[in-house]
Symmetry: C2
Subunit: 217 residues, 2 copies
Amino acid sequence: MTKRFSENEIAAIYKAITERRDMRHFVSGPVDPAILERILQAAHQAPSVGFMQPWRFIRITDYCLRQKIHLLAEQERIETAKALGEREDEFMQLKVEGIMECGELIIVALMENRQQYVFGRRTMPDMDLASAACAIQNMWLASRAEGLGMGWVSLFAPKKLQQLLNMPKDAKAIAILCLGHVAEFYSKPMLEKEKWARREKLHDLIFENTWKEKPDC
Amino acid sequence: MTKRFSENEIAAIYKAITERRDMRHFVSGPVDPAILERILQAAHQAPSVGFMQPWRFIRITDYCLRQKIHLLAEQERIETAKALGEREDEFMQLKVEGIMECGELIIVALMENRQQYVFGRRTMPDMDLASAACAIQNMWLASRAEGLGMGWVSLFAPKKLQQLLNMPKDAKAIAILCLGHVAEFYSKPMLEKEKWARREKLHDLIFENTWKEKPDC
């Protein structure tokens, strides 16, 4: 393995990182199986705590099942809106998922028998979630490079999705991934464009040797 | 933004994903501040649930503090070895961190006041950890392209690290990141090379419409 990549390669990495978006708007059309394979292989190259490779992928190819998953997300969308209080109406205006439109729907779950793994997880058992999130970030970047959009939907009740997919009780769904063709990528994160939240300044988030959060203004 | 990247750019993305390693062996020398800035900017481009940008970075530049952090990891290494039972000796042979050798030591933590954020977290509050893990994966890939190694150490008691860094009680340290120069990148994940665990076959981890784990052989 060479060490430092070429300048063009480095630029490509930063381009993928910068232009990746959490997509909720898709256009119809299937995902090329060869591209899907590359994207899933990218996931499987992610780091994992103690090399446990905790990620499991459930492709949803049954249309009725896709509808049921959409319903779970819709139920949670309404519950979330209520929980948001004064921002309820604003939230309900946002498009938060593209489950029915995307070419490929994939559930990512954490493996069963997770409790057997202690390496790097004795004090922080949720490190397998962190590993699976790294795998999903790989998928996001690979998808962006391939010209496909991806969205991570976390608006669902995990227990209900677990039942729907006949998952063992110690496995846990963490993502409904919408993958597919898009008309265009958002120029900025959609929630920034829609003024749901503003981009923080990076240097407000970097401290030295001790915590020092800036006071809210 | 263009859609599909060029073939060379796509190849660069997959190269970074494939050649990224969780590094524990470093050689001395500081990290160029301009490169560190790019790597942290890459982190800040990660997706985050409800655009909450939960990541905070604490650069450790004080040598005594670095020693104290190393001690925390060493204490947890011994506790983990005990918890592993019959694999205790095998575990103690592994190099699990490069805290004292790496050029740059960065703690990644989740922000304070996390409970205020409901979007995408009502049923799964740990989604901010997932977002921060995506940020760390961006750092890993950017570092690899820049020719720097990075390791994510999760062998520590989060409460002790919280106290050491004067973190608010609802903020949470999730990673001790070792970043720096390396003599070479491992040809395979170190835990695979050392036969701690074997690489799973990707297609054993992909199901369709329902959970179907292969029985252990």
